[in-house]
Amino acid sequence: MKHSIKALLAGAAMLLATLVPAGRAMADKLHLKDGRVLDGTVIREQDGYVWFKMKVGEVEQEKFFKPSDVEKVDRETTPVGDAKAAPAASDSPAPKMHDGAPRAAIISLGVEDKEMVGQFITADSLDRCIPFLEKEHIDVVVLRINSGGGALLEIQKLSDEIEYKLKPKFRTVAWIEHAISAAAMTAHCMEEIYMMPGASYGACTGWYGQLVAVKGRELDEILYMMEKISARGKHDPQIMRAMQIMDPLSCNIDENGDVKWFQNLNGQYIVNPEERILCFNSQDAMKYKFAKGVAATYEELGKAMGYAEVEWVGKKVPGIPYPVCEAEEAMIKFRNQTDKDQKSLRAYFLEYNGSIQIAQSKPPEERGPFVNKARNALDQIKSMVKNNPNEALFVFNMLPEKFKDWVDEQEERLRKLVKK
């Protein structure tokens, strides 16, 4: 079932409202060593271990904290027995956007060894997922990102794809395994960013060659691009700026949990010291309210997103720790084909050029089999670019239109070879 953008925003707004402390029903405060302050009710406390009931969205959850996690407890209720009787602020379930549990799909952007933005993470391949998502009536799209970065020129395309094609149709969230450089810049247009416990996010300095930084006009353009993309994700632009250039970053966090950012070191918390480039781990991202939650598994992700129920669409595939929907199958197929083409590229060219050379050495009436072999190799090159249009630039240093002209020239060349 599709949802209007209004319904989605309404749901999101309510979720945000209930994350803010709701008042006296959850009267205890648990101060954690990572800087978070949680509102809820202490159920039990023993030797520094704390069982704590709190709300995530409209869902009440009981969480357990070890002494190593806990800074202090400000208690207004009496734990064990009395606390269990404490009424929740509201027992009404989260408003459902439609009948039945929402249908969620996970699409991976990058996996180990196939993770470069622009080659294995492309706007084009993501666009091709949309018909599958619609066919399977997906409500929520989780982009699971694991990438060390890649081509700057793909970032705007990816951001536009997410902003204009995905977000209007689906609740679109990022689930970060690692998002470095161009990958973080891709995720940055999403408001909802969830981290895995071991995740990293940031380090977005543009560079080329022997660690040479992008500078001057080009740098200014990229900084401006990311200010606009930050606005799409409702992130303070100073955060991404500190991820790109060595600008310091600090913040204040008020009693409501609202964060105010400063591009200097005057804030309560130093987030990025001078002469450093900012990269978050999951603890930092939560402490400074950049991430909405931490989830090691997709089941945890559903809860972190505030769902009491969610239907994860897809089938179990050995070696993949989440259900694989049809869109994800398509994405995996795209990546595997790109990888195969990359590895076989020299072989394709060897076959193409070698076959032409042999054909040229033969009389016309004997050239047929060799021209056919060359044509097969050319077809593989064409398929490579059809699967991933960016290969025209990365491999041939040509824009797609110029690549088409090149193909036409080669086909004409082959036709001439067999002419008597």
């Binding site: 959850q61 969480k63 416990p197 040479v212 060595m246 781990n281 089941e299 020299r346 060897l350 076959e351």
Partner: protein
């Protein structure tokens, strides 16, 4: 950590008993934890565990180190032994009230449900099964994801409750063809990316096993990339000579190449990757910073025996300096300090400091000692699995591959058509060459995670792609060839 808290939450929600029926499968609707129904009618004893779970049942035996408990769920009874190191408190049930002699009404629950004979207990062994895997040899080559994964599968088949990984990697100069050991203060941080390939075994595969064993890391030598592996477990013990480090001087890895801002980007992404390992294992990520970056200043103070890490120089006598800013000339470690392992520029974890910082749970020099420290001396048995064989087979396979590949390549290049050297002989020669290249590709595919053909001494061997090109060239030669005219 919210992630772990949520996992524990699911356990708390489910746990009225230690044995909880799985209530969801993947892809299905997820409902907040529903307590399993326990059918014991007598008052229950409770164990409150340090991971937040509560186990209810009947305590059968309590010793100095363990508690053995009988739990009945859905009519099925089982006995489980808990180490007291895992138990926060033991709550004994109150003595049952005497039946009221004045009550005469019959429809009490007990009457409605006539007593059933106790369900036959499952053949549950008292003893916990311990499976040991020794991670020895060169990290990234001998210590690699395929053999580790296979050993874990073997442990699963044997029903292991604990897997002890003894980390003792080769930190010698053998890889560089030299004698002696690499100095502890030498940094090989970028082996992190090799360690990441093993990560999912510990963070995803083991936890999702049907009977997920507890992973225990026992550190003898975890240097270079191997230093990241113990962080993937919540439970680390050290050998008394144990050390964990060899990832220092991160800020020097690029020398003077490139712009500072790009270098800082590279440092940041590496550090946060590494900190993520520590966070997953439940350790303070600043420990990794102190191990990696010379200018991380770290001190420690102890309050009630618990370490409080301070990212600054000591400010009072009760604070101890762990690492100073080694980028300042006046702080550079002397040769004497380095030789004694007392350098302060980067942190190398040794048994005593790892224990004080709460990273290590204890120090043990033998397996028996380790099992005792784990509180499992009398309640466990070490199962003889295939781990040693698996690791050895892999190790030997890599060595054999390094010998075979250059030899096979030499042989292939030396193939010439047999006399009289006609079309048939040329075809046979090319087929023979192609077969050797294909066999080489199979060997490389098998060990591709650990083997770099170009790096095989002395002259290397072509990699998989290059062999593919060689085969393609043979195909083209064959296509261009034709039988001689009679």
């Amino acid at each position: 950590m919210i992630g772990r808290g949520l996992r524990i939450l699911a356990g708390v929600g489910l746990a009225a008993a230690a044995v909880s029926p799985a209530i969801v499968g993947s892809g299905s609707v997820l409902v907040p934890g529903t307590p399993a129904v326990a059918q014991q009618e007598q008052a229950k004893d409770s164990l409150i565990l340090r991971d937040g779970k509560t186990v209810e049942g009947q305590i059968l035996e309590e010793t100095a180190a363990t508690v053995r408990m009988k739990v009945i769920v859905a009519g099925i009874s089982g006995e489980t032994t808990y180490s007291k190191t895992d138990i926060l408190s033991i709550v004994r049930a109150a003595a049952p009230a005497k039946p009221d002699a004045t009550k005469t009404e019959t429809p009490a629950l007990a009457a409605k449900k006539p007593p059933t004979p106790p369900a036959p207990s499952e053949p549950v062994s008292d003893k916990k099964k311990i499976y040991v895997v020794e991670l020895t040899g060169l990290f990234g080559e001998d210590i690699s994801e395929t053999p580790i994964r296979n050993a874990v599968k073997d442990a699963g088949h044997l029903g292991a409750d604990y897997i002890i990984f003894k980390v003792d990697n080769d930190w010698s100069l053998r890889r560089d063809g030299e004698l002696g050991e690499i100095k502890d203060d030498v940094g090989k941080f970028d082996q992190l990316f090799r360690a990441e390939k093993m990560e999912t075994i510990f963070t995803e595969e083991i936890p999702s096993m049907q009977k997920a064993p507890t992973v225990v890391m026992w550190v003898k030598k975890a240097m270079g990339g191997a230093a990241f592996v113990p962080f993937l477990s919540h439970t680390i013990y050290f050998h008394s000579e144990g050390k964990m480090g060899g990832i220092g001087h991160l800020q020097n890895i690029f020398g003077s190449t490139g712009d500072k801002v790009v270098q800082e980007k590279q440092f940041a992404l590496r550090l946060k990757h590494a900190e993520g390992k520590a966070i997953e294992g439940g350790y303070d990520p600043i420990i990794v910073d102190a191990m990696a970056r010379d200018n991380t200043v770290l001190s420690v103070r102890f309050e009630g025996g618990k370490p409080i890490l301070l990212p600054r120089e000591p400010e009072s006598p009760d604070e101890i300096l762990l690492t100073n800013d080694g980028t300042k000339e006046e702080n550079k470690d002397s040769d004497e300090a380095l030789a004694r392992g007392e350098g302060k520029n980067t942190l190398t974890l040794k048994a005593d400091i790892a224990y004080k910082l709460g990273i290590s749970k204890g120090t043990a020099d033998t397996l028996e000692d380790l099992i005792f420290q784990m509180g499992l001396s009398r309640t466990s048995e070490v199962v003889k699995g295939q781990a040693d064989n698996i690791m050895k087979t892999w190790r030997d396979g890599i060595e054999e591959a390094k010998r075979q590949l250059p030899r096979m390549y030499r042989d292939a290049r030396g193939i010439a058509p047999k006399t009289p050297g006609g079309y048939k002989e040329r075809t046979e020669a090319r087929q023979h060459q192609k077969k050797i290249y294909t066999d080489m590709q199979q060997i490389e595919r098998r060990f591709e995670e650990a083997l770099n053909p170009h790096a095989i001494r002395p002259q290397g061997a072509p990699n998989w792609n290059e062999l593919e090109e060689l085969k393609k060239a043979l195909e083209l030669q064959q296509l261009a060839d034709k039988p001689e005219k009679r």
